[in-house]
Amino acid sequence: MATMSANNLQQLASGIQFAGPECVTVCETNDVIHVVVAPEKDSTSTLYVVLNDEAIAKKYKITVDFNYSNAELAIFGLYQLRDKQMVEIQSTFNHKVPHCTSKQVWRGILNDSAKAAFEGKIIVAPHAQKTDAQLSNKNLLLSKNAEVNTKPILEIYADDVKCSHGATVGCLDENALFYLRSRGIEESVARELLIEAFANEVLDVVGV
Protein backbone atom coordinates (compact mmCIF):
# COMPACT_ATOMS: atom_id res chain seq x y z
CA MET A 1 0.00 0.00 0.00
CA ALA A 2 1.10 3.53 -0.65
CA THR A 3 2.79 5.38 2.12
CA MET A 4 2.90 9.11 2.36
CA SER A 5 5.78 11.34 3.24
CA ALA A 6 5.55 15.08 3.69
CA ASN A 7 8.20 15.66 1.00
CA ASN A 8 6.26 14.54 -1.98
CA LEU A 9 2.77 15.57 -0.95
CA GLN A 10 1.29 18.00 -3.45
CA GLN A 11 -1.77 20.12 -2.92
CA LEU A 12 -3.76 19.82 -6.15
CA ALA A 13 -6.85 21.75 -5.17
CA SER A 14 -8.70 22.60 -2.01
CA GLY A 15 -9.17 19.28 -0.21
CA ILE A 16 -7.20 17.26 -2.74
CA GLN A 17 -3.66 16.07 -2.15
CA PHE A 18 -1.44 13.75 -4.08
CA ALA A 19 1.54 11.66 -3.02
CA GLY A 20 3.65 10.06 -5.73
CA PRO A 21 5.76 10.75 -8.81
CA GLU A 22 4.67 13.69 -10.97
CA CYS A 23 1.93 12.49 -13.26
CA VAL A 24 -1.08 14.59 -12.38
CA THR A 25 -2.93 17.30 -14.17
CA VAL A 26 -5.66 19.36 -12.61
CA CYS A 27 -8.17 21.29 -14.59
CA GLU A 28 -10.50 23.66 -12.78
CA THR A 29 -13.39 25.14 -14.70
CA ASN A 30 -16.35 26.94 -13.19
CA ASP A 31 -17.78 24.31 -10.95
CA VAL A 32 -15.84 21.25 -12.00
CA ILE A 33 -12.50 20.09 -10.72
CA HIS A 34 -11.01 17.47 -12.99
CA VAL A 35 -7.99 15.52 -11.79
CA VAL A 36 -6.22 13.26 -14.27
CA VAL A 37 -3.60 10.85 -13.01
CA ALA A 38 -1.40 8.75 -15.28
CA PRO A 39 0.77 6.63 -13.00
CA GLU A 40 4.30 5.94 -14.16
CA LYS A 41 5.72 2.46 -14.61
CA ASP A 42 6.49 0.71 -11.31
CA SER A 43 5.15 3.69 -9.36
CA THR A 44 3.12 3.86 -6.19
CA SER A 45 0.92 6.85 -5.58
CA THR A 46 -2.01 7.94 -3.48
CA LEU A 47 -4.68 10.54 -3.93
CA TYR A 48 -6.37 11.99 -0.87
CA VAL A 49 -9.70 13.69 -1.28
CA VAL A 50 -11.31 15.32 1.73
CA LEU A 51 -14.34 17.37 0.81
CA ASN A 52 -16.06 19.46 3.43
CA ASP A 53 -17.18 23.05 3.86
CA GLU A 54 -14.09 24.72 2.46
CA ALA A 55 -13.62 22.34 -0.41
CA ILE A 56 -16.83 21.68 -2.19
CA ALA A 57 -17.13 22.36 -5.88
CA LYS A 58 -20.24 21.10 -7.66
CA LYS A 59 -18.48 18.30 -9.39
CA TYR A 60 -15.27 16.35 -9.08
CA LYS A 61 -14.04 14.20 -11.92
CA ILE A 62 -11.15 11.91 -11.26
CA THR A 63 -9.65 9.97 -14.11
CA VAL A 64 -6.85 7.47 -13.67
CA ASP A 65 -5.21 6.08 -16.79
CA PHE A 66 -2.97 3.09 -16.25
CA ASN A 67 -0.78 3.35 -19.36
CA TYR A 68 2.26 1.63 -17.87
CA SER A 69 2.44 -1.70 -16.10
CA ASN A 70 3.21 -2.43 -12.45
CA ALA A 71 1.72 0.82 -11.20
CA GLU A 72 -0.26 1.08 -7.99
CA LEU A 73 -2.68 3.83 -7.13
CA ALA A 74 -4.94 4.30 -4.14
CA ILE A 75 -7.61 6.88 -3.46
CA PHE A 76 -8.86 7.67 0.01
CA GLY A 77 -11.84 9.95 -0.28
CA LEU A 78 -14.27 11.48 2.18
CA TYR A 79 -17.14 13.83 1.51
CA GLN A 80 -18.89 15.33 4.48
CA LEU A 81 -21.90 17.48 3.62
CA ARG A 82 -24.57 19.36 5.50
CA ASP A 83 -27.36 21.89 4.99
CA LYS A 84 -28.18 21.97 1.28
CA GLN A 85 -24.71 21.14 0.05
CA MET A 86 -24.48 19.00 -3.04
CA VAL A 87 -21.60 17.24 -4.65
CA GLU A 88 -21.12 14.97 -7.62
CA ILE A 89 -18.11 12.70 -7.78
CA GLN A 90 -17.19 10.72 -10.82
CA SER A 91 -14.17 8.49 -10.75
CA THR A 92 -13.03 6.55 -13.79
CA PHE A 93 -10.19 4.06 -13.63
CA ASN A 94 -8.90 2.89 -17.00
CA HIS A 95 -6.82 -0.22 -16.57
CA LYS A 96 -5.25 -0.34 -20.03
CA VAL A 97 -2.17 -2.45 -19.28
CA PRO A 98 -1.44 -5.58 -17.24
CA HIS A 99 -0.25 -5.85 -13.64
CA CYS A 100 -1.65 -2.66 -12.19
CA THR A 101 -3.33 -2.31 -8.82
CA SER A 102 -5.94 0.21 -7.81
CA LYS A 103 -7.75 0.68 -4.56
CA GLN A 104 -10.51 3.16 -3.83
CA VAL A 105 -11.96 3.86 -0.42
CA TRP A 106 -14.74 6.43 -0.52
CA ARG A 107 -16.77 7.42 2.50
CA GLY A 108 -19.67 9.86 2.58
CA ILE A 109 -21.37 11.48 5.57
CA LEU A 110 -24.50 13.43 4.78
CA ASN A 111 -26.56 15.48 7.17
CA ASP A 112 -29.58 17.80 6.86
CA SER A 113 -30.71 18.04 3.21
CA ALA A 114 -27.32 17.38 1.67
CA LYS A 115 -27.11 15.38 -1.52
CA ALA A 116 -24.29 13.43 -3.10
CA ALA A 117 -23.95 11.46 -6.29
CA PHE A 118 -21.08 9.06 -6.64
CA GLU A 119 -20.14 7.11 -9.71
CA GLY A 120 -17.10 4.87 -9.66
CA LYS A 121 -16.26 3.21 -12.92
CA ILE A 122 -13.52 0.64 -13.39
CA ILE A 123 -12.73 -0.37 -16.95
CA VAL A 124 -10.33 -3.25 -17.53
CA ALA A 125 -9.14 -3.56 -21.13
CA PRO A 126 -8.92 -7.01 -22.80
CA HIS A 127 -5.13 -7.32 -22.44
CA ALA A 128 -4.92 -5.75 -18.95
CA GLN A 129 -4.47 -9.14 -17.29
CA LYS A 130 -3.56 -9.46 -13.60
CA THR A 131 -5.33 -6.23 -12.82
CA ASP A 132 -6.29 -5.88 -9.17
CA ALA A 133 -8.96 -3.23 -8.76
CA GLN A 134 -11.01 -2.59 -5.65
CA LEU A 135 -13.64 0.01 -4.96
CA SER A 136 -15.58 0.56 -1.78
CA ASN A 137 -18.09 3.35 -1.25
CA LYS A 138 -19.95 3.55 2.04
CA ASN A 139 -22.34 6.30 3.01
CA LEU A 140 -23.76 7.39 6.31
CA LEU A 141 -27.04 9.30 6.25
CA LEU A 142 -27.63 11.33 9.39
CA SER A 143 -30.95 12.85 8.42
CA LYS A 144 -34.14 11.74 6.73
CA ASN A 145 -33.70 14.39 4.07
CA ALA A 146 -30.11 13.57 3.18
CA GLU A 147 -29.71 11.67 -0.03
CA VAL A 148 -27.02 9.78 -1.84
CA ASN A 149 -26.92 8.02 -5.16
CA THR A 150 -24.05 5.63 -5.58
CA LYS A 151 -23.24 3.74 -8.73
CA PRO A 152 -20.22 1.47 -8.87
CA ILE A 153 -19.63 0.18 -12.38
CA LEU A 154 -17.29 -2.59 -13.47
CA GLU A 155 -16.50 -3.14 -17.12
CA ILE A 156 -14.13 -6.04 -17.41
CA TYR A 157 -12.88 -7.28 -20.73
CA ALA A 158 -9.94 -9.35 -19.45
CA ASP A 159 -10.32 -12.79 -17.91
CA ASP A 160 -7.52 -13.01 -15.37
CA VAL A 161 -8.22 -10.15 -13.01
CA LYS A 162 -9.22 -9.51 -9.42
CA CYS A 163 -11.87 -6.83 -9.17
CA SER A 164 -14.31 -6.01 -6.44
CA HIS A 165 -16.69 -3.19 -5.80
CA GLY A 166 -19.20 -2.49 -3.11
CA ALA A 167 -21.44 0.35 -2.10
CA THR A 168 -23.61 0.81 0.97
CA VAL A 169 -25.92 3.50 2.29
CA GLY A 170 -27.00 3.36 5.90
CA CYS A 171 -27.72 5.14 9.14
CA LEU A 172 -25.79 5.08 12.41
CA ASP A 173 -25.78 1.62 13.94
CA GLU A 174 -28.52 1.70 16.61
CA ASN A 175 -26.95 -1.20 18.48
CA ALA A 176 -23.61 0.57 18.70
CA LEU A 177 -25.36 3.74 19.82
CA PHE A 178 -27.21 1.86 22.56
CA TYR A 179 -24.01 0.16 23.66
CA LEU A 180 -22.15 3.45 24.07
CA ARG A 181 -25.08 5.13 25.84
CA SER A 182 -25.51 2.18 28.18
CA ARG A 183 -21.98 2.95 29.41
CA GLY A 184 -23.04 6.45 30.39
CA ILE A 185 -21.96 8.27 27.25
CA GLU A 186 -24.44 11.00 26.29
CA GLU A 187 -26.31 10.37 23.06
CA SER A 188 -24.83 13.39 21.26
CA VAL A 189 -21.29 12.36 22.23
CA ALA A 190 -21.98 8.75 21.24
CA ARG A 191 -23.20 9.91 17.82
CA GLU A 192 -20.10 12.02 17.33
CA LEU A 193 -17.90 9.08 18.28
CA LEU A 194 -19.55 6.83 15.71
CA ILE A 195 -19.45 9.48 12.98
CA GLU A 196 -15.78 10.13 13.69
CA ALA A 197 -15.05 6.42 13.57
CA PHE A 198 -16.66 6.25 10.15
CA ALA A 199 -14.71 9.26 8.85
CA ASN A 200 -11.50 7.94 10.36
CA GLU A 201 -11.44 5.04 7.92
CA VAL A 202 -10.25 7.72 5.52
CA LEU A 203 -8.84 10.44 7.80
CA ASP A 204 -6.49 8.07 9.64
CA VAL A 205 -4.81 7.35 6.33
CA VAL A 206 -4.68 10.98 5.29
CA GLY A 207 -3.17 11.85 8.62
CA VAL A 208 -4.81 15.24 9.09
Partner: protein, 249 residues
Protein backbone atom coordinates in the same frame (compact mmCIF):
# COMPACT_ATOMS: atom_id res chain seq x y z
CA UNK B 1 -33.03 -3.47 56.86
CA UNK B 2 -30.98 -3.31 53.68
CA UNK B 3 -31.85 -0.58 51.23
CA UNK B 4 -34.04 -1.51 48.31
CA UNK B 5 -32.21 -1.05 45.02
CA UNK B 6 -34.60 -2.44 42.44
CA UNK B 7 -38.28 -3.01 42.78
CA UNK B 8 -40.31 -4.37 39.87
CA UNK B 9 -44.09 -4.48 40.24
CA UNK B 10 -46.39 -6.33 37.88
CA UNK B 11 -44.28 -5.55 34.83
CA UNK B 12 -45.93 -6.27 31.49
CA UNK B 13 -44.07 -5.53 28.27
CA UNK B 14 -44.55 -6.13 24.59
CA UNK B 15 -42.46 -6.25 21.45
CA UNK B 16 -44.82 -5.07 18.73
CA UNK B 17 -48.09 -6.84 19.46
CA UNK B 18 -46.55 -9.73 21.30
CA UNK B 19 -46.62 -9.69 25.09
CA UNK B 20 -43.29 -11.01 26.37
CA UNK B 21 -43.38 -10.09 30.05
CA UNK B 22 -46.65 -10.95 31.75
CA UNK B 23 -46.46 -9.58 35.25
CA UNK B 24 -42.98 -9.70 36.75
CA UNK B 25 -42.50 -8.96 40.42
CA UNK B 26 -39.00 -8.73 41.81
CA UNK B 27 -37.33 -7.00 44.74
CA UNK B 28 -33.61 -6.65 45.01
CA UNK B 29 -31.93 -5.15 48.05
CA UNK B 30 -28.41 -3.85 48.56
CA UNK B 31 -25.88 -6.59 49.08
CA UNK B 32 -27.91 -9.27 47.30
CA UNK B 33 -27.09 -11.42 44.31
CA UNK B 34 -30.12 -12.68 42.41
CA UNK B 35 -30.08 -15.20 39.61
CA UNK B 36 -32.84 -15.46 37.04
CA UNK B 37 -32.90 -18.73 35.17
CA UNK B 38 -35.22 -19.72 32.43
CA UNK B 39 -35.54 -21.47 29.12
CA UNK B 40 -35.07 -19.75 25.75
CA UNK B 41 -37.84 -17.30 24.96
CA UNK B 42 -38.94 -16.88 28.56
CA UNK B 43 -38.27 -13.13 28.55
CA UNK B 44 -34.85 -12.98 30.25
CA UNK B 45 -33.18 -10.74 27.70
CA UNK B 46 -36.32 -8.62 27.33
CA UNK B 47 -36.22 -7.94 31.05
CA UNK B 48 -32.55 -6.97 31.04
CA UNK B 49 -32.97 -4.77 27.95
CA UNK B 50 -35.92 -2.97 29.51
CA UNK B 51 -33.88 -2.33 32.64
CA UNK B 52 -31.04 -0.85 30.57
CA UNK B 53 -33.45 1.19 28.41
CA UNK B 54 -33.10 -0.34 24.98
CA UNK B 55 -35.66 0.78 22.36
CA UNK B 56 -38.14 -1.62 20.84
CA UNK B 57 -40.08 -2.62 23.96
CA UNK B 58 -43.30 -1.15 25.29
CA UNK B 59 -44.10 -1.36 28.97
CA UNK B 60 -47.87 -1.75 29.07
CA UNK B 61 -48.38 -2.17 32.81
CA UNK B 62 -46.49 -2.03 36.06
CA UNK B 63 -43.47 -0.10 37.22
CA UNK B 64 -39.76 -0.34 37.88
CA UNK B 65 -38.31 1.59 40.80
CA UNK B 66 -34.58 2.11 41.14
CA UNK B 67 -33.74 3.52 44.58
CA UNK B 68 -37.43 4.41 44.79
CA UNK B 69 -37.47 6.43 41.56
CA UNK B 70 -39.15 5.54 38.30
CA UNK B 71 -36.40 3.97 36.21
CA UNK B 72 -38.45 4.15 33.02
CA UNK B 73 -38.32 7.97 33.15
CA UNK B 74 -34.56 7.93 32.63
CA UNK B 75 -32.70 7.84 29.33
CA UNK B 76 -30.24 5.04 28.65
CA UNK B 77 -27.24 7.15 29.66
CA UNK B 78 -29.00 8.55 32.73
CA UNK B 79 -29.58 5.01 33.94
CA UNK B 80 -25.92 4.19 33.46
CA UNK B 81 -24.96 7.35 35.30
CA UNK B 82 -27.34 6.44 38.11
CA UNK B 83 -25.58 3.09 38.50
CA UNK B 84 -27.31 0.58 36.20
CA UNK B 85 -24.96 -1.58 34.17
CA UNK B 86 -25.88 -4.28 31.68
CA UNK B 87 -23.23 -6.76 30.63
CA UNK B 88 -24.66 -7.74 27.29
CA UNK B 89 -25.22 -11.15 25.85
CA UNK B 90 -23.90 -9.97 22.50
CA UNK B 91 -21.47 -7.09 23.02
CA UNK B 92 -21.45 -4.83 19.96
CA UNK B 93 -18.39 -4.51 17.74
CA UNK B 94 -17.61 -0.86 17.06
CA UNK B 95 -14.83 -0.61 14.49
CA UNK B 96 -13.01 2.72 14.48
CA UNK B 97 -13.72 3.54 18.13
CA UNK B 98 -10.63 2.92 20.22
CA UNK B 99 -11.30 0.76 23.30
CA UNK B 100 -9.19 2.91 25.59
CA UNK B 101 -10.86 6.11 24.42
CA UNK B 102 -14.28 4.48 24.83
CA UNK B 103 -13.52 3.27 28.38
CA UNK B 104 -12.14 6.65 29.43
CA UNK B 105 -15.10 8.53 27.91
CA UNK B 106 -17.54 6.17 29.65
CA UNK B 107 -15.79 6.47 33.01
CA UNK B 108 -15.57 10.25 32.82
CA UNK B 109 -19.22 10.53 31.76
CA UNK B 110 -20.28 8.50 34.78
CA UNK B 111 -17.88 10.40 37.06
CA UNK B 112 -19.28 13.71 35.82
CA UNK B 113 -22.81 12.70 36.72
CA UNK B 114 -21.58 11.68 40.19
CA UNK B 115 -20.06 15.13 40.58
CA UNK B 116 -16.51 13.79 40.40
CA UNK B 117 -13.74 15.43 38.39
CA UNK B 118 -12.71 13.82 35.10
CA UNK B 119 -9.59 11.67 35.08
CA UNK B 120 -6.71 12.55 32.80
CA UNK B 121 -5.01 9.96 30.60
CA UNK B 122 -2.43 9.11 33.25
CA UNK B 123 -4.91 8.66 36.10
CA UNK B 124 -7.14 6.61 33.83
CA UNK B 125 -4.27 4.26 32.90
CA UNK B 126 -3.49 3.68 36.58
CA UNK B 127 -7.05 2.54 37.21
CA UNK B 128 -7.62 0.53 34.08
CA UNK B 129 -4.36 -1.39 34.41
CA UNK B 130 -5.37 -3.02 37.67
CA UNK B 131 -8.78 -4.02 36.28
CA UNK B 132 -7.16 -5.34 33.11
CA UNK B 133 -5.13 -7.77 35.14
CA UNK B 134 -8.25 -8.75 37.10
CA UNK B 135 -9.91 -9.93 33.89
CA UNK B 136 -6.72 -11.38 32.43
CA UNK B 137 -6.49 -8.92 29.56
CA UNK B 138 -3.37 -7.53 28.04
CA UNK B 139 -2.79 -3.79 27.68
CA UNK B 140 -2.90 -4.21 23.93
CA UNK B 141 -6.68 -4.66 24.21
CA UNK B 142 -6.86 -0.96 24.96
CA UNK B 143 -5.39 -0.11 21.58
CA UNK B 144 -7.90 -2.16 19.62
CA UNK B 145 -11.32 -0.98 18.48
CA UNK B 146 -14.22 -1.73 20.83
CA UNK B 147 -14.88 -5.48 20.60
CA UNK B 148 -13.87 -5.48 16.92
CA UNK B 149 -12.48 -8.88 16.05
CA UNK B 150 -12.59 -9.97 19.70
CA UNK B 151 -13.27 -13.63 20.38
CA UNK B 152 -16.42 -14.51 22.32
CA UNK B 153 -14.43 -14.82 25.53
CA UNK B 154 -12.61 -11.54 24.99
CA UNK B 155 -15.89 -9.73 24.44
CA UNK B 156 -17.31 -11.04 27.70
CA UNK B 157 -14.15 -10.14 29.56
CA UNK B 158 -14.38 -6.65 28.08
CA UNK B 159 -17.91 -6.44 29.53
CA UNK B 160 -16.62 -7.40 32.98
CA UNK B 161 -13.78 -4.90 32.60
CA UNK B 162 -16.33 -2.15 31.94
CA UNK B 163 -18.41 -3.30 34.89
CA UNK B 164 -15.43 -3.12 37.25
CA UNK B 165 -14.43 0.25 35.87
CA UNK B 166 -17.86 1.85 36.20
CA UNK B 167 -18.63 0.30 39.62
CA UNK B 168 -22.40 0.14 39.15
CA UNK B 169 -24.86 -0.18 42.02
CA UNK B 170 -26.97 -2.58 39.97
CA UNK B 171 -25.04 -4.89 37.67
CA UNK B 172 -27.05 -7.07 35.33
CA UNK B 173 -25.21 -9.88 33.56
CA UNK B 174 -27.25 -11.17 30.63
CA UNK B 175 -25.96 -14.65 29.86
CA UNK B 176 -22.43 -13.45 30.37
CA UNK B 177 -21.51 -17.08 31.03
CA UNK B 178 -22.83 -18.43 27.72
CA UNK B 179 -20.23 -19.81 25.37
CA UNK B 180 -17.32 -19.43 27.77
CA UNK B 181 -14.65 -22.00 28.50
CA UNK B 182 -13.87 -22.79 32.13
CA UNK B 183 -11.01 -20.32 32.38
CA UNK B 184 -13.04 -17.43 31.00
CA UNK B 185 -16.00 -18.45 33.17
CA UNK B 186 -13.82 -18.24 36.27
CA UNK B 187 -12.58 -14.80 35.24
CA UNK B 188 -16.16 -13.58 34.79
CA UNK B 189 -17.11 -15.08 38.15
CA UNK B 190 -14.12 -13.47 39.83
CA UNK B 191 -15.13 -10.08 38.41
CA UNK B 192 -18.69 -10.47 39.66
CA UNK B 193 -17.51 -11.57 43.11
CA UNK B 194 -15.12 -8.63 43.21
CA UNK B 195 -17.99 -6.21 42.61
CA UNK B 196 -20.19 -7.87 45.20
CA UNK B 197 -20.58 -5.63 48.23
CA UNK B 198 -23.06 -4.47 50.83
CA UNK B 199 -24.09 -1.39 48.87
CA UNK B 200 -24.56 -3.00 45.46
CA UNK B 201 -26.82 -5.59 43.91
CA UNK B 202 -26.17 -8.07 41.14
CA UNK B 203 -28.64 -9.73 38.82
CA UNK B 204 -27.35 -12.76 36.94
CA UNK B 205 -29.38 -13.97 34.01
CA UNK B 206 -28.41 -17.42 32.90
CA UNK B 207 -29.46 -20.70 31.37
CA UNK B 208 -27.16 -22.81 33.42
CA UNK B 209 -26.11 -23.47 36.95
CA UNK B 210 -22.42 -23.45 36.12
CA UNK B 211 -21.81 -19.72 36.76
CA UNK B 212 -23.66 -20.15 40.05
CA UNK B 213 -21.07 -22.72 41.10
CA UNK B 214 -18.63 -19.82 41.27
CA UNK B 215 -20.94 -16.99 42.28
CA UNK B 216 -23.29 -18.09 45.03
CA UNK B 217 -26.62 -16.32 44.62
CA UNK B 218 -28.77 -15.30 47.56
CA UNK B 219 -31.92 -15.86 45.53
CA UNK B 220 -32.75 -17.87 42.44
CA UNK B 221 -35.85 -17.18 40.34
CA UNK B 222 -37.28 -19.19 37.49
CA UNK B 223 -38.65 -17.10 34.63
CA UNK B 224 -40.96 -18.94 32.31
CA UNK B 225 -43.56 -17.62 29.87
CA UNK B 226 -42.90 -14.04 30.96
CA UNK B 227 -43.53 -14.65 34.65
CA UNK B 228 -41.46 -15.63 37.64
CA UNK B 229 -42.96 -18.99 38.46
CA UNK B 230 -40.76 -19.96 41.34
CA UNK B 231 -38.23 -18.38 43.67
CA UNK B 232 -35.88 -19.96 46.12
CA UNK B 233 -32.33 -20.02 47.37
CA UNK B 234 -29.23 -21.42 45.69
CA UNK B 235 -30.57 -24.98 45.94
CA UNK B 236 -33.23 -24.16 43.36
CA UNK B 237 -30.51 -23.78 40.71
CA UNK B 238 -29.22 -27.27 41.40
CA UNK B 239 -32.74 -28.66 41.22
CA UNK B 240 -33.31 -27.03 37.83
CA UNK B 241 -30.03 -28.36 36.54
CA UNK B 242 -31.12 -31.84 37.57
CA UNK B 243 -34.75 -31.85 36.50
CA UNK B 244 -34.99 -29.13 33.82
CA UNK B 245 -37.47 -26.28 33.70
CA UNK B 246 -40.55 -28.28 32.79
CA UNK B 247 -41.04 -29.83 36.21
CA UNK B 248 -41.06 -26.45 37.82
CA UNK B 249 -44.59 -25.48 36.83
Amino acid sequence: MAQNILSIHNLHATIGDVEILKGINLNINAGEVHAIMGPNGSGKTTLSNILAGRDGYTVTQGEILFFGKNLLDLSVEERAAAGVFLAMQYPVEIPGVNNSYFLKTALNSVRKSRGESPLDAFEFMQIIKSYLSDVGMDEKFLKRAVNAGFSGGEKKRNEILQMLLLQPTLAICDETDSGLDVDALQIVAKGVNQLRSGDRAILLITHYQRLLNYVTPDFVHVLSGGKIIKSGDKHLAAEIEKHGYNERE
